[in-house]
């Protein structure tokens, strides 16, 4: 029990969930208040997390819970993105009439689940966190229940996710059967020899995880769910679960099965190449921006996996850098999407952007910066993200992966350029509203500035991340 003060952020969020649930039920019309309180409690959780002294001992509760530098960094990233998502989407929720008290509470639940996932050092703890976040996400995806697409996406996500959870659980049981333990560190000790059952277990778990970060060929849910869900949920989908799943990927590959690198390396390389290429090619024909960004994020996950596939600390660090920059870019992109509003209606087709630069020069400029950055054109942040990945990949002499990755960048550049073309070269359409709430503006300005000015001091983030050690 003496370790309880080390999980204060998680405890605080759990208490807030219960409190807000009761509070929301007893106080009438309190949805906006609950929403704001959720944002405040996320800020408070962030403060608690930053103040946490993790130097004492990273492993808690019989080595099943890990609060080392990796989980600390990832949790800070998670909660920060959570805060920005909340800030940017508040207006959207009101206008699309999904402002109910359950919405922010479900988001908190899911964030709690992700925090548990990030810290898990045991298969059972990991699965518990995963299910907590998934269950909340199923409901969130279909939150706009009067909308056909939204309910479809919720159901689709539920069915496919349940399937992948089943596979994952089967993998966990296989590993338990062959290593006689569920603890990550203990698994490493007990699995010196390769056995088929163990390999199968690894594969099943990787499939489950690949589903969560929507890597090809387990990506089928992503475009539909991204498009169907309310945009405020899509941005949540695009950012937070990726952080959690990537952390589990890192922990899972680099703690229990680090020695078995030759077993999983090929799988990760395949997932990576398939995602990079498929994401780039499939996005070309898209007409809906949310669907397009779904394919784009599939492709981006491919790059993050390329870093992981190296099997080196440097590779992991490059992946973490990549995901950090990816989060900022997507946040900026979705902030722009939230601004495409006219007469209480949000627009999300690429054609709606036509000639945007004439009516909204500043919004178009941020979109320009974000899109070029997503395409990985220097000197924007997106270039550096890819650069670190390729530095790590080429260090391991994986030239094939590097060349495929870079060629996929060129293909991907095409569809990002197409959006820029529509914004800048095409004739203008009707104006959008230019009044937005402060949180949204702040999110957009902050993230765009980060992308634009990253090259001035690229060492900042790299230095922080290079202090993360995995083992």
């Amino acid at each position: 029990m003496e370790n309880l003060q080390l999980i204060i952020p998680e405890l605080f969020i759990s208490i807030m969930i219960m409190f807000l649930l009761i509070f929301g039920v007893f106080k009438k019309n309190s949805s906006q208040l609950v929403y704001n309180l959720t944002t405040v409690s996320l800020v408070a959780a962030l403060a608690l997390l930053i103040n946490l002294d993790t130097q004492i001992q990273p492993l808690l509760f019989d080595n099943s819970y890990n609060i080392d530098s990796l989980s600390r960094f990832m949790k800070i990233l998670l909660i920060l993105s959570g805060i920005f998502v909340m800030l940017s989407s508040s207006k959207y929720i009101q206008i699309s009439k999904i402002s109910k008290i359950e919405y922010p509470i479900l988001i908190l639940c899911s964030i709690l689940g992700m925090m548990v996932m990030i810290s898990s050092n045991d298969l059972i703890v990991f699965y518990m966190g995963l299910e907590l976040q998934s269950l909340a996400l199923y409901v969130l995806a279909s939150f706009n229940r009067d909308n056909l697409l939204s309910t479809e996406s919720g159901l689709k996500y539920f069915v496919l996710s349940a399937l992948s959870s089943g596979l994952l659980l089967y993998g966990c049981s296989l590993i338990y059967g062959f290593s006689e333990t569920t603890n990550f560190n203990q698994i490493m000790v007990n699995t010196k020899e390769i056995e088929y059952g163990l390999t199968f277990g690894i594969v099943f778990i990787l499939v489950g995880l690949a589903f969560k970060i929507s890597a090809v060929p387990f990506h089928m849910w992503a475009p539909d769910v991204y498009q169907g869900s309310p945009t405020s949920v899509t941005v949540f989908f695009a950012l937070l679960p990726k952080i959690a799943a990537l952390t589990v990927f890192i922990r899972f590959l680099y703690i229990p099965f680090y020695e078995l690198g030759d077993q999983w390396q090929m799988i990760i390389i395949f997932l990576s190449i398939a995602s990079m290429v498929f994401g780039a090619v499939a996005a070309i024909g898209q007409k809906n921006l949310k669907r397009l960004i779904a394919y784009s994020s599939i492709s981006h996950m491919g790059y993050a996996l390329a870093g992981l596939s190296t099997g080196t600390t440097q590779g992991v660090q490059s992946s973490i850098t990549y995901i950090t920059i990816y989060l900022v870019m997507n946040l900026a992109f979705f902030s722009c999407l939230f601004m495409l509003k006219r007469n209480d209606e949000y627009y999300e087709n690429i054609d709606d952007l036509s000639g945007l630069s004439k009516n909204h020069p500043l919004l178009s400029l941020s979109l320009l910066v974000v899109l070029f950055s997503l395409a990985g054109i220097p000197p924007l942040a997106g270039f550096f993200a890819k650069f670190y990945i390729f530095v790590a990949v080429i260090n391991e002499k994986m030239y094939f992966l590097a060349i495929v990755g870079l060629l996929a960048t060129v293909i991907a550049a095409f569809y990002y350029l197409r959006i820029i073309k529509i914004i800048y070269f095409d004739p203008e359409k009707e104006k959008f509203e230019s009044k937005h709430n402060l949180g949204l503006k702040f999110t957009l300005v902050a993230s765009t500035f980060f992308i634009l000015a990253y090259f001035i001091y690229p060492s900042g983030i790299v230095d922080i991340i290079s202090q993360i050690n995995i083992n």
């Binding site: 000197p379 650069f387 080429i394 030239y399 060349i403 073309k421 070269f425 690229p458 060492s459």
Partner: protein
């Protein structure tokens, strides 16, 4: 060295761009923005002129070197110049104000954005020519795509979208392999610092692949046959200022890259691939000259002539002789001036008649005599008449080539004749003949600002034609050092079996 003069050169245009971006112009014509841009670019020109004067031409080392930590423990921001880079910087800062001057007539909408794009582009271009770190070089080399893509796409002609995409994707595809090569160099040698790499050298067994990766990027950018097809499209659709920048400076980045990186870092591989470069250069010279003869669009004709001229440049560089390399550099500077001037000339008549088709013109000499004079100077400069800067470059290149391979030199000389053919024919069709077309008669002769911009270009073309010494003097030591350092001479002798 206290005052960071190179960084100021690089940053000044960006500061100007930010200023234009944030300060609201009082009237809709953006007059003040134009003056700000002109002032900034001129200031940059005088700064670089001052740099040229205080630059010590007798030293082999890089001068005005600045180094700052950038990506910790990995890449340093490092800039510096030698005799070769200073000329390209001068060319950049000289051409950019001229481009700013042309916006009056050519850019009808969103002038402010255009000026910002040009200023940002100038930052990247100067940066490319003085970066002494491979990653910094790559970063700036690629970054130039963004403003150029927008310049072609927003202010371009009818098929601007196609051309902008083609330009962007071709160049990007070429460059990504260079990125892999740069990272590989880092892992092979432990540094991306060009000066250190010059000292360390790169193991011969890696050189061929690395050379090819760099070549893929530079060949697209030069452009060399067969990856030159983006250039005519980009030139035709870009606004005048865009074409000028593209022809005068962006193409030179690749030639500069060949000298600085391909020769400097991979001397063995460069020798190994000499036949390849010779072949491609000869095809470029002969084939694109023939293609240029058949063009009906003025801008396309000049674009193809650019490809042919750049063929001479690559030919000269890979002779690896003092004359050849000096000639290539001279040719690049001269082509920068001449092609910029030719595109401006096309811009002048296009603004009046709104067509670039050659057969829509004829007999301009009787209504636009001033125009006929300057256009003649540039035509002669382009075909390399003795007394213009074009001659010196081509002559030196051919001299260097003769030393190495007489057959190649002979074929290349044919290109000179073809060059004279298409340029003179173009001149004849536009300027001479009878004034038959009705709306042509309303065309007015050069306005004041056009006279200024064109004569500013006439002067250096003739001056350096008669007195090339200042340019040659500036590059001589650096080129000799490049050859000595990499034993290019020795390699040459081995190749000749001496």
């Amino acid at each position: 060295m206290n005052f960071p003069i190179l960084s100021s050169l690089i940053l000044l245009p960006t500061i100007g761009a930010l200023f234009i971006f944030f300060v609201r112009s009082s009237n809709s014509q953006y007059q003040s923005s134009k003056y700000v841009a002109l002032f900034i670019t001129l200031a940059n020109f005088f700064l670089s002129l001052y740099l040229w004067i205080i630059f010590d031409k007798s030293l082999v080392d890089f001068q005005f070197v600045e180094e700052r930590e950038w990506i910790s423990g990995f890449v340093n921001y490092k800039v510096g110049i030698d005799g070769i880079s200073i000329l390209f910087i001068l060319l950049t800062t000289f051409i950019t104000p001229i481009c700013v001057l042309t916006v009056n007539a050519t850019i009808k909408n969103r002038l402010k954005d255009f000026l910002i794009a040009i200023l940002i582009l100038e930052t990247f271009m100067i940066g490319v020519f003085c970066s002494l770190d491979l990653v910094v070089f790559y970063l700036l080399f690629e970054a130039g795509l963004i403003p150029m893509f927008l310049i072609i796409g927003i202010w371009g002609g009818e098929r601007r979208v196609y051309s902008a995409f083609k330009f962007f994707l071709f160049t990007l595809l070429g460059s990504v392999l260079m990125l892999i090569a740069i990272i590989s160099i880092y892992w092979i040698t432990g540094t991306t610092d060009v000066i250190k790499l010059y000292e360390l050298g790169i193991d011969a067994k890696y050189q061929n692949l690395l050379w090819l990766a760099f070549f893929s990027s530079f060949a697209v950018k030069t452009p060399m046959w067969p990856v030159h097809t983006w250039l005519p499209d980009a030139h035709v659709e870009a606004p005048t200022a865009g074409s000028v920048l593209l022809a005068a400076i962006l193409l030179k980045m690749a030639g500069y890259g060949f000298i600085r990186f391909s020769l400097g870092l991979f001397p063995d591989a460069s020798l190994y691939f000499v036949p390849l470069v010779y072949t491609l250069s000869l095809i470029a010279i002969i084939y694109t000259s023939l293609v240029a003869l058949m063009q009906e669009d003025m801008k396309k004709l000049i674009a193809y002539s650019s490809v042919a001229h750049m063929g001479f440049v690559t030919l000269g560089i890979f002779t690896m002789t003092q004359q050849g390399i000096e000639g290539s550099i001279f040719q690049m500077i001269s082509h920068g001036l001449v092609s910029a001037a030719l595109f401006l000339c096309v811009g002048v008549v296009y603004d009046r008649l709104h067509t670039r088709l050659i057969n829509r013109y004829g007999g301009l000499v009787s209504i636009m005599p001033k125009y006929a004079i300057v256009f003649m100077v540039f035509t002669l400069g382009a075909l390399g008449l003795p007394g213009t800067s074009g001659f010196v470059g081509e002559f030196l290149v051919l001299m260097g080539t003769f030393k190495k391979n007489i057959l190649v030199a002979t074929i290349a000389s044919l290109g000179v004749i073809l060059g004279a053919a298409y340029m003179l024919w173009l001149y004849k069709r536009i300027i001479f003949g009878k004034l038959i077309i009705e709306d042509e008669k309303k065309m007015v002769d050069l306005k004041r600002f056009e006279i200024v911009t064109l004569w500013v270009l006439v002067l250096p073309i003739i001056f350096f034609g008669f007195y090339p010494e200042p340019l040659i003097n500036s590059i001589e030591v650096s080129v000799a050092n490049l050859i000595d350092m990499n034993d290019l001479d020795k390699i040459n002798k081995l190749a000749l079996g001496e």
